[in-house]
């Protein structure tokens, strides 16, 4: 390969899903008490992006769309080894569903002249999995989702992925530019190096791009989002007896009584 590849890795800051609570009085979600963290599947995305750089000459840029606080997850990405990072932040993005979100990320990927865009499988806060195919669709690029394993074919300049499909797997080759969504837990994310960590924390500040910088100011936000939340109902947890029994015999007798064995 002659030119180094540009690899863009998309990351999101999400409330820690172990810490989201429901206010018993109002029935509303209390996300404010949950600490903001890097979306767990995105750690696998960062690892995959850095792996590509280990294989071919490449430059890895982390991109996040979010409020200024999302700088934290970009610093984390830089600490583990991403070369650079960009924050897409603007009030105009507020209320965006997956359509405008993937548009903004798609434009940023174009701006960064991406050969490969790596994403996590889905986010733990909204879990749609729609953003990676959305980025690919907005740009008319190839996509590889539910990726368990990657190869870079540097002769043909293709990306080859082993994908998880129902009841098995497949290997698919795609021509760059290509969007890759890495299946959660499919690789072992590397830890941050000490020097890199200090650099990310103390010296690195990502540039911020606005909707106007991306030329999408009229195409993002609540007004152009096709979907809206019509309502939220708290789901009453299924009542379970939560009986702890001491022996297999006791369990089976109880199940016998229930008529299920």
């Amino acid at each position: 390969m002659t030119e180094p590849w540009n690899v863009v890795v998309c990351v999101k800051q999400v409330p820690d899903d172990d810490e989201v609570t429901i206010d018993p009085d109002t029935g509303r979600l209390d996300r404010s008490s949950a600490p903001a963290v890097l979306n767990r599947p995105d750690r696998n995305a960062i690892e995959a992006a850095l792996w590509i750089r280990d294989e071919v000459d490449a430059r890895v840029t982390a991109v996040s769309m979010g409020p200024p606080t999302a700088t934290a997850v970009l610093k984390e990405a830089v600490a583990v080894g991403c070369d650079d990072a960009v924050l897409l932040s603007d009030r105009a993005f507020g209320g965006s569903d997956t359509w405008p979100t993937s548009l903004a990320l798609a434009r940023a990927a174009e701006e960064l002249d991406a050969d490969v865009v790596v994403c996590g499988e889905e986010t733990t806060d909204s879990s749609t999995g729609q953003v990676p195919p959305g980025i690919a669709a907005h740009n008319g690029w190839a996509q590889l989702t539910y990726v368990e394993d990657l190869e870079v074919d540097s002769d043909d300049e293709r990306v080859i992925a082993r994908r998880d499909v129902e009841g098995g797997h497949e290997r698919v080759a795609a021509d760059p530019p290509v969007v890759v969504a890495v299946a959660y837990g499919e690789n072992e994310p590397r830890p941050a190096g000490l020097h890199r960590k200090l650099f990310a924390e103390n010296e690195f500040e990502p540039p911020t791009w606005s909707a106007a910088d991306l030329g999408v100011e009229d195409e993002v936000g609540l007004a152009v989002s096709p979907t809206a939340v019509g309502g939220m109902e708290t789901v009453d947890p299924v009542e379970r007896a939560q009986a702890v029994v001491d022996s297999p015999g006791e369990l089976l007798a109880a199940l016998d009584e229930e008529g299920v064995v």
Binding site: D17, V20, I22, L29, T98, W99, S102, E122, D125, S126, T128, G129, Q130, P133, G134, A136, A137, A142, Q143, L144, T145, Y146, V165, E166, G167, G168, H169, E170, R171, V172, A174, D175, V178, A183, Y184, G185, P226, T227, A228, G230, E233, V235, V238, A241, Q242, A243, V244, D246, S247, P248, G249, E250, L251, L252, A253, L255, D256, E258, V260, V261
Partner: protein
């Protein structure tokens, strides 16, 4: 923004791989039939593949008024780009009001490929569907680990698209005498336009755990040794299922994964063995009638979601349970 009145009919994407139809497609035809009847529209099956006339006829026997068939070698095996482009053109030309797609890896891969160029509203991983008299779809999906059910609507864009989790609706039986139209459509994709190539595809047993009456599910706690769990499943005449951790380790086939990104199951009996009870897992099993947890950690969250729990090493508990089941004698032998 579009004139929403120009759009009608309920479409269901029939996902097939080499002639095998994903079970969720039949589930969606049954649910789609109800939605179509509720708003007085037609139910249309969209079949894409090669040599799929039989699939189209099966879709009619499962409730479709019409089946649109795009038949061409370019569509076998599935790839996001040719499927997306073909479906997008159909949507643009024929303006469906509602489009339902199975929430499989294939369906979730491909739905965005249609929704983005159509500027359609797409709701992911839906578990409940409803429609009001104006044809406005209420697509409900669990959010925040299943603690809330969010209702997603799409008022000003069409079609209203949803990917739907496998196992939440019941497929109806085929009626071979049902009549309906099978309509071939123009294929608008050429191989030379594609940007991806399937090099190999290997699928084996695509077990359908969504129909099982009894399920024994293995988690990371089994540490790769499935024998005691299989023994218990065998003694209970139950299907084997798994948490994502066990699937990711490669111990069990992905088709048997229960949970947010797997299947929704509702058996009479669900036995979770060596499974911690993460929200994403519980979401897929919480409709089970009776839940049993076997876990060595008394503080494992799975016990909060179980009717009966045994705090025990699964390597001891499972064989003992299997033995007593086989003997038909339930001995109150205490295990430590």
């Amino acid at each position: 923004m579009v004139d929403v009145d120009e759009y009608d009919d309920v479409w269901v994407f029939v996902e097939e791989h080499a002639g095998d139809v994903a079970g969720v497609s039949w589930e969606l035809l049954a649910e789609g039939r109800e939605l179509a009847d509720a708003i007085g529209d037609d139910l249309v099956a969209v079949v894409i593949g090669e040599g799929v006339d039989g699939v189209a006829e099966a879709a009619v026997s499962r409730g479709a008024d019409r089946a649109l068939v795009a038949d061409d070698p370019v569509f076998e095996p599935y790839r996001a780009d040719p499927y997306g482009e073909q479906f997008r053109r159909l949507v643009e030309d024929r303006k469906p009001s509602i489009v339902l797609i199975g929430g499989t890896h294939t369906g979730r891969d491909f739905a965005g490929r249609v929704a983005v160029p159509a500027h359609a509203g797409l709701t992911a991983d839906v578990t409940e569907l409803d429609v009001d008299e104006d044809g406005l779809l209420q697509a409900r999906r669990p959010a925040f680990g299943g603690n809330v059910l969010a209702s997603i609507i799409c008022e000003e864009h069409r079609p209203q698209m949803a990917t739907v989790r496998p196992g939440v609706f019941e497929a109806s039986e085929p009626e071979p005498d049902r009549s309906g139209e099978v309509e071939p459509v123009e294929v608008v994709v050429e191989e030379s336009d594609t940007v991806s190539e399937v090099l190999e595809r290997e699928t084996g047993d695509t077990a359908d755990i969504t129909d099982a009456d009894r399920i024994v599910a293995a988690g990371a706690g089994c540490d790769g040794d499935l024998e005691p769990i299989e023994e218990l499943a065998d003694a209970l005449d139950a299907e084997l299922a798994a948490s994502r951790a066990a699937v990711d380790e490669g111990w069990i086939d992905g088709a048997r994964q229960v949970g947010q990104t797997g299947k929704t199951v509702r058996p009479e009996l669900y036995v979770a063995v060596g499974i911690s009870g993460a929200v994403q897992h519980v979401e897929g099993m919480d409709d089970s009638e009776v839940v049993v947890a076997i876990n060595s950690d008394p503080n494992a969250p799975i016990f909060d979601h179980a009717d009966y729990g045994i705090v025990a090493d699964l390597f001891e508990a499972c064989p003992t349970l299997a033995e007593q089941l086989r003997d038909g004698e339930f001995e109150p032998e205490v295990i430590a």
